[in-house]
Symmetry: C2
Subunit: 661 residues, 2 copies
Amino acid sequence: MAATDAVRTADSTPGTPPPLVADVAGLRAFLDGPYATVRDEVRAALAEHAGLLDERVDLPRDELRRRVRDLVVEIGARGQAAHGFPREFGGGGDIGASIASFETLAYGDLSVLVKSGVQFGLFGGALLQLGTRAHHERYLPDVLSGRLLGCFAMTETGHGSNVQALGTTATYDPATDEIVVRTPDDAARKDYIGGAAQDGELAVVFAQLEVGGERHGVHAVLVPLRRDGEVLPGVRVEDCGAKLGLEGVDNGRLWFDDVRVPRENLLDRFATIDPDGTYRSSIENPDRRFFTMLGTLVQGRVSVGGGAVGASKVALEIAVRYALRRRQFEAPGGEQETLLLDYGMHQRRLLPLVARAYALSAAQEEVARQLHAVFSPDTPEADERSRRALESRAAGTKALATWHASEAIQECREACGGAGYLAANRFAALKADTDVFTTFEGDNHVLLQLVAKGLLTDYSSEFEDLDQRGMVRFVASLAVETLVERSAAHQLFERIRDVLPGGRDGWDQEAGLLDPDYQLAMLRFREEHQISGVARRLKAGVDAGRPAGEVFGEVQDHVISAARSHVERLVLEAFVARVRALPAGPDRDVLTALCDLHALTTIEADRGWFLEHGRLSAPRSKAITREVSALLRRLRPVALELVEAFGIPAEVLGARDLVGP
Amino acid sequence: MAATDAVRTADSTPGTPPPLVADVAGLRAFLDGPYATVRDEVRAALAEHAGLLDERVDLPRDELRRRVRDLVVEIGARGQAAHGFPREFGGGGDIGASIASFETLAYGDLSVLVKSGVQFGLFGGALLQLGTRAHHERYLPDVLSGRLLGCFAMTETGHGSNVQALGTTATYDPATDEIVVRTPDDAARKDYIGGAAQDGELAVVFAQLEVGGERHGVHAVLVPLRRDGEVLPGVRVEDCGAKLGLEGVDNGRLWFDDVRVPRENLLDRFATIDPDGTYRSSIENPDRRFFTMLGTLVQGRVSVGGGAVGASKVALEIAVRYALRRRQFEAPGGEQETLLLDYGMHQRRLLPLVARAYALSAAQEEVARQLHAVFSPDTPEADERSRRALESRAAGTKALATWHASEAIQECREACGGAGYLAANRFAALKADTDVFTTFEGDNHVLLQLVAKGLLTDYSSEFEDLDQRGMVRFVASLAVETLVERSAAHQLFERIRDVLPGGRDGWDQEAGLLDPDYQLAMLRFREEHQISGVARRLKAGVDAGRPAGEVFGEVQDHVISAARSHVERLVLEAFVARVRALPAGPDRDVLTALCDLHALTTIEADRGWFLEHGRLSAPRSKAITREVSALLRRLRPVALELVEAFGIPAEVLGARDLVGP
């Protein structure tokens, strides 16, 4: 045990640290970030409509859909969904505000969140990003005010993840100057399309564009679906029917039987058909063109990530409040039974998830900031590399945030026992509605592959051209060492390692466990090691003459682990940076403890890897677990304040059986 | 890398092992065990009623409840629920058959499973186990045939886990020779009671029995709830309303306002009130009496564990079949896209869960065998220690099986993408309905504490008297070394270690990774080490004069880890034993690979612990991960047969969108 005792924590003075003092307002300011006012507006609107959360429990699906649609229309009419759009079309010109608003909306009913995401984010966003001035002028004011309801028709039954291989065709007919949209077979029917079953009047349809007999890849075309509630000729609609959750969203399937639309319905920011019927694009390479188009839609993923974190906070607040009221089994020497949150195991189950919700909030704020910077009209055109880095960060944060939501909501439900199983107590809806977050707006595993691709190719401009085979060959062409050495993680790791006690050889043994530079160095070391391992494996496979696809298949789980490690590093970095920026004081002390808890539970969760790779000794690994326990005990007295700081209005929190009046 | 290469696997010859050949019938015989006929009968009945699985998607709650009740009544009328009851009351006298039947019923609608579990398992089981001949004769025939529907009214709003502290009272009134049942406050209302909201006519009510002014602890009393569908005077009923799942079960709340029932309504196997109004029990100690009563109800936990494994198989078969049909992203050098199950990551996600479903099936069979042995009327009264060991095994297996179900169903849903989110594809119901399994029939964490208590006290006869404080003191009174040395894990570990190459000092380095004795030795070492660690910590805390409850609170997560390790060892042991008993041949080869996959993924999942405790070197830990990948590749070609062997009728599997016609 002597070796264990040698582990010191640099930040903590010997003995017990002073008790933490939590100020809800300060913590809330930390979480709300620069858009507190926008968030408060949404909170007020949610409180006003909180009745839906109770009523939906027993509403038939049709009625629920109607209620949800009406609320989305009202959000539009009030101008609350227009933050991110240009001012000239009724918007607020502030993308960051738009994300903050969406994140807060997730405290309420999630069908409203998702349907509003479809209408304003996906449908409105595609019009804005892929269309040109004529489309904006004609449609945006009606879309933003909720007068024109639309769909985003990308996914097909046969293709969800590999959207480049969609089957729907859009063929230009020079005889009539029209585009003919067609569903060639059932695998190419549009599927799971929000708004398609009942409400959508106009759809952005993604289809293989063919002009003059030549295919140009996937483009977006506006196709009217309904007029005065009647489905238009040539369009066939089927309701997706009952779903696991999000029953207030009318998902449906669409078939197009040679539906003709004017040439102008092509959303033609990146490629157009001239009046004389010739295809013209500012981007030569069709793959690159497609991924550039997709890239403009990145806001959807940022929004889903934020929504997931918001929903997890509702579950966490309910479970923590319940654990602070519910007693079970007699307390030692007392009359009363013990509060659930005074059990060590219960702290272990809930508080690290609270810490992660804070960490992901900081990470979301950073990705929203970058989104704002890249997409705001008043910033100069962002360079290609920043765009790719943003897309990667958004994809990775979405994956981690949505898995976090699933995990946290599940743990919270179980931590509330049988009471958590009653629909009145919100977990039913939270679980069911968020479940699809892990696979929509990009399947999480596919998204992490996208992240890995960016890391391996260093966001090179050829990035879009690289399918899996191309990527493997690209890696094989590189010197792995160079690749790794120029990676961001490597450079940061080198810098951080050098400031730690112990230096180049002893940093991992001598630094204090509570030193954020140590925690970050650990995550950076892992990321760098895993990326170079993947690169080396890919290169070795291809150098040995094996088929690229086979090589990739075998390395795939390493690819995904490396990406996950990268995103975990970004999340911790964002949290550490925000905490470091705070002035010294009680708020900073609380958030430092929370950030330590998040960092150490992240390292602890993968301690097998760190032990395997010589970056944790057995005594140090055990010391981390002890430090986590100490942090849990330290944070226990401020648990209520930590969740109160989420700022979830009491009406919206609901679950009165669990949290009390 | 030289050290890594030094790791050899004893069982595998150098080079690639021969391809596996799977025979569905052989694998099914392995899973079905001794009760294939009983299982086939349930399969046939499920196929007949499979329509409910599709129809329930859109049925209103009332209608679904009616359908489910009718099915449960039909199950009774057909005599299909009576396997486990004595022949003289219309039963089959075969408890093992009863468990096999229930496990198979889990392939179908889970509201039917749970409602039938309430009627025949909980209600009928309590009558059988806690009642005496007069109760059996009067009620059992009607209960088993579904003519008398009942409730098991134990849980209260204020007390779910700590049922010894229930608030409902049952006071003997000598003036009228009646028992007066009363709900003193809202915390003591009976809650979440299946059958209470609509159908229950008679309830087994657990209440604090008071005779002659003296309290005797919790006893079970029969209280009529309804006659001809009308709630009886003095009984108040409230519907629990919408739930996360199991919407076909009419859970409700019950209040008793001085309801009077005859003295004979006390279920008096373990304690009775004589005609002269004196209380008499064969068990002196009230705690022990209570836990003896509870112990007779162990079948409920065995059933829930089996149901959970059954439900997980449905999800696994759907996801594996989907992964064998669905293609996404272009394959290397081919025209077609790649099958999902040919992605390494997809194999990693699904196949270890398939292996665990097999392992848990073997573990369930073992616990059912012990249940049968302990409870069958024709076996001599089992000794106290066997009963305690059975209760512990049932509790632990229930916890692991139900967590497995939640995890497997979630992973399978995600692995089926958006299509998995549609209610028609069964995951909605599977997820929602099984979710409560982790917290009902004993919260999993509380159950694992029970397991740990048994390990620490070696199932001593004082076991029932020990609350948390008592247990801590008991441990403090022991010599820890003696405790550990007499534990089953220790003795088995000693024996196994001695047969491994490398002997006492080198067994963990020299044995082959695919040697089941090595795998078992690893799990036994961990269990033993963790239990002794917990005992030492508890003892040290109490020896230092700290309050017992506080000491326990701090060690609680270690307590639960130790219990989990114990149950994981039991599960692997059961799987290994079944596989070893097979004759050499293709079936055994397949199951050996599956058992290796289960064992190595179990060790891999906790490799941090093994590395920390010097039982894995870094190279050996990495070698395990490589071996897992090799096993996945080896099992991939027989994946379909592995899930076909579950024997889920195609009509019941449903999900035709995913698995094809």
